[in-house]
């Protein structure tokens, strides 16, 4: 059904590299390679150091040998030692919280994004300002009133007590991103779908959502990572209860002894929480690129 609709669209989109190399040798290509090498180095150098430290004994944290020395698995063993901390459990909590936050935020934000980009109503600019305004108050100052409010609700140390605030803090960015991308989608596609007999929401779901897949995956990644990395809210609202506290809270509670900062144990935990994330991102990343070409356009 949507095949005909899409073919009539005036500006079919297709993702193709912006820069294409037609000649075998050129300075542009070498410059590109240098730039790529520089980017990879810039992004990975600190991460490399994190890996080195993760496998190093804590006493040698400040030993600057730039490759793997004093290799030990103790830091990883410590991380998963349930006698000292609840890191393993906290990974599960993190996953539950982050997935819930991402799904809830995306659903809510897609509704809002649709309304803001497609509907005509009074007070739209006030709504937009209010949503943006929610990202303007210092987060540290919201903690104490929120703690007292959730205390009254009996929400401290519960999953929903951790999830709902994060959804709220994720919404402004998610709504703005989605609104901005939805508004860029040509209206004609939906019109055509409606001619085919779709309701406005059906048209939106079947035409715009697939087209906006890259933007949606991008937004979902941003929300997921923000939730995965969140510490301040969770540390206070979880009340330190290891049954619900996410991995960031568990990591910050790592200890190595009085006045000893558990640097290497922290790095080991950092590696553990980062690697699966990288894999997830890799999978999503493909969707970002393929989203367009695999979507309705070619159908």
């Amino acid at each position: 059904m949507s095949t005909a609709a899409v073919e009539t669209a005036e500006a079919p989109r297709e993702s193709r590299p912006i820069v294409t190399y037609k000649k075998g040798y050129d300075w542009g290509r070498i410059g590109n390679l240098v730039a790529i090498a520089a980017i990879v180095f810039w992004c990975l150098a600190p991460f490399y150091w994190m890996l080195v430290l993760a496998f190093r004994d804590n006493a040698n944290t400040f030993d600057n040998t730039p490759w793997f020395t004093d290799v030990t698995m103790d830091n990883f063993r410590y991380a998963f030692d349930t006698e000292f901390n609840a890191f393993g459990r906290s990974l599960v909590n993190s996953l539950i919280i982050s997935v819930s936050v991402t799904v809830l935020s995306m659903v809510i934000a897609v509704f809002a994004g649709y309304a803001l980009s497609r509907l005509v109503f009074r007070g739209k600019s006030i709504v937009l300002a209010a949503i943006l305004g929610a990202s303007m108050f210092p987060g540290v100052a919201i903690l104490t009133p929120l703690f007292q409010l959730f205390g009254d609700f009996g929400w401290l140390g519960t999953y929903h007590g951790l999830i709902l605030p994060q959804v709220s803090f994720a919404l402004p960015l998610a709504v703005y991103t989605l609104t901005s991308f939805f508004a860029d989608m040509p209206w004609e596609l939906e019109e055509a779908a409606k001619v085919d007999g779709c309701t406005p929401l059906q048209a939106f779901r079947k035409v715009i959502i697939p087209l906006a897949a890259p933007a949606m995956f991008t937004t979902a990644i941003l929300v997921f990572l923000a939730s995965w990395n969140e510490y301040l809210l969770s540390s206070v609202l979880s009340k330190g209860d290891t049954a619900v506290a996410p991995s960031t809270v568990a990591i910050v509670n790592f200890t190595a002894g009085p006045h000893i900062v558990p640097y290497t144990q922290t790095m080991a935990a950092g590696v553990i929480v980062t690697i699966p994330l990288v894999i997830v991102v890799l999978i999503f990343q493909r969707r970002i690129v393929s989203g367009l070409t695999a979507g309705g356009i070619k159908g």
Partner: protein
């Protein structure tokens, strides 16, 4: 108020314009828009009202009340929460402190009130510097990621790693790296006291923040790039536009909506930055952001800290407004191209 929303509203208007062409045929669509919008926006507004709206209103109200004061006869604090007018605001903006024996005096060095304007300039400085660097590098990252070349997925993962490592972990990593005896000085052959001198300390924070959040901007720009039709480039090439002209006249205007969102949200984040400078310097050596000042004040005076938060809110609101106008102007340019 309305100005805040213009880049987005302008985008939305483009959608509207297109649609109005046809709305004559489909007039029925219009009538339900208001109620429909209410339903669709309801969840968002309720979530924001509950989690953000209530604490913010609560804080704004408290910012006009006194903090607990010591009763000299009993040695105990009273409850505070009496009406205090704008005294908490004067404490920060005019740097008025209570003087011994009543009245107010100019806040002495070492009182947090005297550090307000320094914190404002430091925070603004961080914002301008980091956001500009992040946009430039982020744009470069995005353009690279958009290309086809072997090992592209490696680059994509590499670029995302900084954003995937939790701040709780990465802040400790930077402490190790920026230690005077640490690996950075070792590699560079320098002996900067990275965290105990103003210049290097600020540089350290900028480096750490840029490293961490450039992927955020790059991702948003990349998503914007994906939406650009290659035909536009082809026709520009036929017209004889070189790579720079194509970037400046086509790419940049077309990713501007995504860029606007990225820059505005990054600016809002840096303006409220707390954890990174807190872990690296505790706010010493010219790195005390407003949020750090809020945290320090919270240790003893909640209502005064609420006033500082409200001032920050107003300040950030003004900056967001300015940013929105800036981007709006550019979007208008695009329309006239």
């Amino acid at each position: 108020m309305s100005i805040v929303s213009e880049p987005i509203a302008e985008n939305a208007a483009r959608g509207r314009k297109n649609r109005r062409k046809r709305s004559g045929r489909n007039g029925g669509l219009h009538s339900g828009d208001g109620r429909m919008a209410l339903y669709l926006l309801g969840p968002t507004m309720i979530m924001l009202a509950l989690i953000v709206g209530y604490p913010v209103l609560n804080a704004i109200y408290k910012s006009f009340l006194t903090d607990p004061g010591l009763d000299d006869s009993t040695g105990l604090f009273n409850e505070g929460n009496d009406w205090n007018g704008t005294a908490n605001y004067a404490h920060w903006i005019l740097q008025r402190c209570n003087a011994v024996g009543g009245g107010t005096e100019s806040c002495p060095a070492g009182n947090l009130g005297s550090q307000f304007w320094d914190s404002v300039w430091v925070t603004l400085g961080f914002t301008v510097v980091t956001v500009i660097i992040e946009v430039i590098i982020g744009m470069l990252f995005a353009l690279m990621m958009h290309q086809a070349f072997r090992g592209r997925s490696l680059v994509r993962v590499a670029v995302l790693i900084p954003w995937a490592v939790p701040t709780a972990v990465i802040a400790k990593l930077w402490v190790v790296i920026f230690d005077p005896q640490g690996v950075l000085n070792n590699v560079l052959g320098t002996s900067f006291a990275w965290t105990s001198e103003a210049g290097p300390a600020r540089m350290a924070i900028v480096i750490a923040d840029v490293w961490k959040t450039t992927p955020f901007i790059a991702l948003l720009i990349l998503a914007g790039l994906q939406g650009i039709s290659s035909e536009v480039y082809e026709s520009a090439k036929v017209d004889g536009a070189n790579a720079w002209q194509r970037f400046w006249r086509i790419t940049l205007p077309l990713v501007k909506p995504a860029l606007a969102v990225a820059v505005i949200f990054r600016a809002l984040d840096v303006l409220r930055m707390y954890d990174l400078p807190w872990v690296l310097t505790q706010g010493s050596n010219g790195t005390q952001t407003i949020s750090i000042l809020v945290v320090k004040e919270l240790a003893s005076k909640l209502n005064s800290a609420a006033a500082l938060s409200t001032i920050t809110f107003v300040l950030i609101f003004a900056i967001a407004l300015a940013l929105v106008r800036l981007f709006n102007a550019n979007i208008v340019d695009r329309g006239t191209r």
